[in-house]
C-alpha cells in the first residue's frame, strides 16, 4: 500500500446552498484503501459534499483532513484529491492518449517516448481491464469502459483521496457491480480512501465498506455495510415507504405496438439490436430492462424516431411508423416520457403553463388559426396542477424553479392528458425522491388502467418488477422473456442482463 496512512477524516462538515443546508454536521472517517458510499436522492447535497471534499466548494464550517495533515485547506485538497465528475463530454482521443494526458513519458524532456508511453498506458489500462481498447477513441467506448478509463487516469495521478460522483448512473446493475468491484480492488491496492455517490442502495453491496445516507432537511447517518444488510439499509433510507407494486396485474387487450425483427447497428462499441421483436397490448405494462449500452438506448432512440433501423418494422395501430418523426408519432397516439433530467422534454426558462402545452400548439385546443388561446392554456395549467397534486406550483411560475419531482409530474401530466393510446416511458423515475418515484409509477400505471398500453424501458430491475405485467431483459441486443411471478427476483434479472443465467 502506497497511499496515505490516515485516510480521510471529516468533522462537523456543514455545506449550505443559498438559504438551505445541504449537508449538516457530517462526521465521517474513511480509512486508506476503503470504499465508502454516499447514498441519497437527487438534490440532497451528494455532489456538493464531494466538491467540498475536493476543495472545489467552500463549506460553511467543519474540518477536513486528508492523510497525515490535521486540517487540509481547500487548496491542499484540490492538490490531494482526484474528482471524477458525473458527466463529461467524451473526446475523440484514443484510450492511450487519454491515459497519457497527465504525465506522458518524455524522451530528453521534449518528445513523447512512444514505446514507453504505450507500455505505461497498457499497464494502466490493464489495471482496470481495458487493455484491449487502447487504440479505440474514447467516444466509441461503452459507458462502463469510459468509467473504467477515467478511474485508471485518476489513479495514475496518485491521489490521496478519490471521489466519484454517481459513477453508476448510466450503467446497468451488473455493470455497476463490475465497476465497483474494480474500484474497490484499485483502492485497496493503492491504499486510497475512496468515496462515491449513488441513488441506489444496492451499490453498497458487496463492495463498499460503509455508507452515509443524506436526506433533505435531516442530519446524515453513517453505517457500516458489515453490520447492516441491504434491505435494512434501504428500509432506513426510505423509512419503509416503498411498496412492491402500485397496481395490477392487468388484463391485456389488443396489440397496439408491434415491433418485428428490428436490426440496428450501435455506435462505437455499443451493442447492436439483433432482430428485436415484441408487442405492447392495450391495458398492460411491458417492461424491458437492460443496460443503456446493451441496446436500450438504441431501442428508445428508434421508438422516438431519432434513428432509422437497418431492417425491421414498427407498427402502431396497424400503421407502419418507420420514416415518421416524433411529432407524427405523437399525433398518431403515442406519448413519450423520458428520464427526469432529460433536456428534450421541458423548457426550464419557460413557465409551467407553457411547458404543459409543449408540442401541442399546432392544433386545438390551445391554438386557433395560429394564435395561442391563453384562456385554454391557463385553464389547462390550473386543472393539471390540481389533478397531479401540485398545489404549490403556479401556472406562471418558472419551470426551472420547481423541484425535479414536480417537473417530472408536470411532464407526465402533459403526456397523460393527451390521452395517448401508448405511453413509452424511459426510466421516468430515475433519481427522483422516493415519494416522487412512487407517484410517477402510479400516475403512469393508472393511465394504463384507463386502456393505454405502457412500454417501460429501464436499467433498474427493481423498478421494472414494481410495474411490469410482462417483462423482458435486453441483453446482447436480444430479448429474453421472464415470467412475472412472485418468485422472480432482482438477481434473476441481473443474471440475465449479464449473461450469467444458466
Amino acid at each position: 500500500m502506497s497511499g496515505p496512512k490516515s485516510g480521510l477524516r471529516v468533522r462537523g462538515l456543514t455545506i449550505g446552498d443559498g438559504s438551505r443546508w445541504l449537508v449538516k454536521d457530517l462526521e465521517l472517517e474513511v480509512k486508506p484503501g476503503r470504499l465508502h458510499m454516499i447514498l441519497g436522492e437527487r438534490d440532497t447535497g451528494k455532489t456538493a459534499l464531494l466538491e467540498s471534499l475536493a476543495g472545489r466548494r467552500r463549506e460553511e464550517r467543519g474540518q477536513v483532513s486528508i492523510g497525515d495533515s490535521s486540517e487540509a485547506a481547500p487548496r491542499d485538497r484540490r492538490r490531494a484529491a482526484s474528482f471524477i465528475a458525473q458527466w463529461w463530454q467524451p473526446t475523440q482521443l484514443t484510450v492511450l492518449e487519454r491515459l497519457l494526458l497527465a504525465k506522458p513519458p518524455r524522451r530528453f524532456r521534449i518528445a513523447i517516448h512512444r514505446a514507453a508511453a504505450e507500455e505505461r498506458a497498457r499497464a494502466l489500462a490493464k489495471r482496470v481491464g481495458v487493455e484491449t481498447l487502447v487504440h479505440v477513441p474514447v467516444e466509441a467506448l461503452r459507458p462502463l469502459e469510459r468509467r473504467l478509463l477515467e478511474l485508471a487516469a485518476a489513479v495514475d495521478e496518485s491521489p490521496a483521496l478519490l471521489l466519484l460522483d454517481e459513477p453508476t448512473s448510466e450503467l446497468g446493475p451488473h455493470e455497476a457491480r463490475h465497476f465497483l468491484g474494480i474500484l474497490r480492488a484499485v483502492a485497496r491496492e493503492d491504499g486510497i480512501p475512496t468515496l462515491f455517490t449513488t441513488t441506489w442502495a444496492r451499490d453498497g453491496y458487496p463492495d463498499a465498506d460503509g455508507a452515509t445516507i443524506l436526506w433533505r432537511g435531516r442530519e446524515p447517518a453513517t453505517v457500516s455495510t458489515e453490520d447492516v444488510t441491504e434491505s435494512a439499509l434501504f428500509e432506513r433510507w426510505t423509512g419503509g415507504t416503498m411498496r412492491r407494486s402500485p397496481t395490477g396485474p392487468h388484463t391485456a387487450g389488443d396489440a397496439l405496438l408491434r415491433v418485428e425483427d428490428l436490426v440496428l447497428e450501435g455506435r462505437g462499441r455499443e451493442t447492436s439490436l439483433a432482430g428485436l421483436g415484441f408487442d405492447v397490448r392495450a391495458g398492460e405494462v411491458l417492461a424491458i430492462v437492460g443496460a443503456p449500452a446493451d441496446g436500450l438506448h438504441l431501442l428508445h432512440d428508434t421508438l422516438l424516431g431519432n434513428r432509422a433501423p437497418q431492417r425491421g418494422s414498427i407498427q402502431f395501430l396497424g400503421k407502419e411508423m418507420l420514416g415518421t418523426n416524433r411529432r407524427q408519432r405523437v399525433e398518431s397516439g403515442m406519448s413519450f416520457v423520458n428520464p427526469p433530467h432529460a433536456r428534450d422534454q421541458s423548457l426550464v426558462d419557460f413557465t409551467v403553463e407553457e411547458n404543459l402545452i409543449l408540442g401541442q400548439t399546432h392544433r386545438g385546443p390551445f391554438a386557433r388559426r395560429g394564435w395561442l388561446k391563453f384562456d385554454s392554456i391557463r385553464g389547462n395549467a390550473v386543472r393539471s396542477l390540481t389533478d397531479f397534486e401540485l398545489p404549490d406550483a403556479k401556472p406562471r411560475e418558472r419551470f426551472g424553479r420547481l423541484s425535479l419531482g414536480a417537473r417530472q409530474r408536470i411532464v407526465i401530466a402533459r403526456e397523460v392528458l393527451r390521452d395517448p393510446k401508448l405511453l413509452v416511458a424511459r426510466s421516468p423515475a430515475q433519481g427522483l425522491s422516493l415519494e416522487s418515484q412512487e407517484y410517477v409509477r402510479k400516475a403512469l400505471v393508472l393511465q394504463c388502467e384507463r386502456g393505454s398500453g405502457l412500454l417501460w424501458l429501464s436499467e433498474d430491475p427493481e423498478e421494472a418488477l414494481r410495474v411490469a405485467d410482462r417483462l423482458a431483459v435486453l441483453a446482447a441486443g436480444k430479448l429474453v422473456w421472464l415470467p412475472v411471478t412472485e418468485t422472480l427476483t432482482r438477481q434473476a434479472i441481473i443474471d440475465e442482463m449479464s449473461g450469467r443465467a444458466a
Partner: protein, 352 residues
C-alpha cells in the same frame, strides 16, 4: 420582458442603464475636459431631420441582431448583410432611368432583399457544408467589403415624398389644429420609422401570442426540446436570419443618402455592429431595442460625442463601453445549454 427570457432581468436592466449613463455623461465630460476650441463640425447637433433616419438605422440594426437571437443564432453576419444591402442599393442608384423617389424606394426594398439573401446563404452553408453561422457571417462580411467599395456612390439627399392633401378625405383636410398645408410632405424618416416600429411591435406580438412565435421561443431557448416538440429548427432559424438580414440590408441601403450616413459615420466600430450594441443595451427585448435605438440616436447626435470619440486616450474606452453589456447580457440570452455550446454547436441532439 419577453416570456422565457426573464432570468436576471432587473439586474441586467440596471447594469445596462448604468453603462449608458456612464457613456452619456462620460463623453460630455471628456469633451469639456478636452477644452477644444469651438469647432462647428464637432459640436453641431444636426437635430433637424436626420435624427429620425439615424434612429431608423439603429432600430433596424437592433432588430437585425435581435430577431435571429430569439432563434438562438448570433447574427455576426450582420455586417455582410448590411454591406450587401448597401451594394445592391448603390447599383440601383446608378440607374438614371428610374425616377428619384422610385429609385429610393426600390433601392431600400432591394437592399432588404439582399440582406435577407445573405442571411439565407449563412444557414444554407451550415446545412450543406456544416460551416458555423458565426464563421460564415464574419467571412462573408470581409468578402463584401471590396464589393461595397466598388459599387459605392457619393451620398445624396433623399428625395422628398410630396402628397396633395386634396386627395385626402375632406374631414382630415379641414380638421382644426392639424396645421397641414395643401402639399403634405411625408419624409422618409417618418415612413421608415413607422415601418420599423410596426415591424418591432408585430414581432413582439407574434412572439408572445402566436403558435409560430411560441415555436421560435422554444428554438431559442432549447433546440433539443424544439426538435422533440416537432419544430423544424433549421426552418425557424433560416426565417429569422433572413428577417434579420432584411433589416440590416435595409439599413445598408439607407446609407446611400447623405443625412444618416454623415451622422452614423461617427460610430466607432463597423457600423453594422451597432446592432449588437442596440440589442444588448435593450436587454434582448423588442421594447428595449426601441428605447436603446432612441437613446443612442440622441447620444450620437449630442454635442461632444464626436470630440470624445476622436480622443486617442478616451476614444477606445468609449468604444469599449458600447460592447461591454455583452458580458452580462449574452450568457442570459443564449440558449440554455450555455454560450460555448450555442456558439460552437454542431448538432441539435445530444445524449442525456
Amino acid at each position: 420582458m419577453i416570456p422565457g427570457r426573464c432570468r436576471g432581468g432587473w439586474w441586467a436592466l440596471g447594469a445596462n442603464a448604468a453603462s449608458f449613463l456612464l457613456l452619456a455623461v462620460g463623453t460630455q465630460a471628456i469633451a469639456r475636459g478636452a477644452s477644444a476650441p469651438w469647432n462647428p463640425a464637432a459640436w453641431a447637433a444636426p437635430w433637424s431631420g436626420d435624427v429620425l433616419l439615424v434612429l431608423v438605422g439603429l432600430l433596424f440594426l437592433g432588430l437585425g441582431f435581435l430577431m435571429p437571437l430569439h432563434a438562438g443564432v448570433l447574427n455576426l453576419g450582420i455586417h455582410a448583410q448590411f454591406l450587401a444591402g448597401f451594394s445592391v442599393a448603390a447599383a440601383i442608384a446608378r440607374v438614371p432611368t428610374i425616377g428619384p423617389a422610385a429609385r429610393a424606394g426600390l433601392a431600400l426594398l432591394a437592399g432588404g432583399a439582399a440582406g435577407a439573401l445573405v442571411g439565407a446563404v449563412m444557414i444554407g452553408l451550415r446545412r450543406r457544408f456544416a460551416v458555423h453561422e458565426v464563421l460564415s457571417g464574419l467571412l462573408l462580411g470581409g468578402a463584401m467589403v471590396p464589393v461595397a467599395r466598388t459599387l459605392s456612390v457619393a451620398p445624396a439627399p433623399l428625395p422628398a415624398l410630396t402628397f396633395e392633401l386634396s386627395n385626402l378625405p375632406p374631414a382630415l383636410r379641414w380638421a382644426p389644429g392639424l396645421g397641414l398645408g395643401h402639399p403634405f410632405v411625408l419624409t422618409w424618416g417618418i415612413l421608415l420609422l413607422s415601418l420599423g416600429l410596426l415591424l418591432a411591435f408585430l414581432f413582439a406580438h407574434v412572439l408572445r401570442a402566436s403558435a409560430p412565435g411560441f415555436d421560435l421561443r422554444i428554438v431559442g431557448s432549447n433546440p433539443l426540446a424544439a426538435v422533440a416538440a416537432g419544430v423544424e429548427v433549421d426552418r425557424v432559424q433560416l426565417s429569422m436570419l433572413a428577417a434579420g438580414g432584411a433589416c440590416a440590408g435595409l439599413t445598408g441601403a439607407l446609407q446611400l443618402w447623405g443625412q444618416p450616413a454623415v451622422a452614423l459615420e461617427r460610430w466607432p466600430l463597423p457600423l453594422a455592429f451597432a446592432g449588437l450594441t442596440i440589442a444588448l443595451y435593450g436587454g434582448g427585448t423588442v421594447r428595449g431595442v426601441i428605447v436603446a435605438a432612441a437613446l443612442f440616436a440622441g447620444w450620437i447626435n449630442a454635442p461632444g460625442t464626436l470630440v470624445s470619440l476622436g480622443s486617442p486616450v478616451w476614444g477606445p474606452a468609449v468604444a469599449l463601453l458600447l460592447v461591454l453589456p455583452a458580458l452580462w447580457n449574452l450568457p442570459r440570452l443564449l440558449p440554455d445549454q450555455g454560450a460555448p455550446r450555442a456558439l460552437w454547436r454542431t448538432r441539435h441532439r445530444e445524449p442525456y
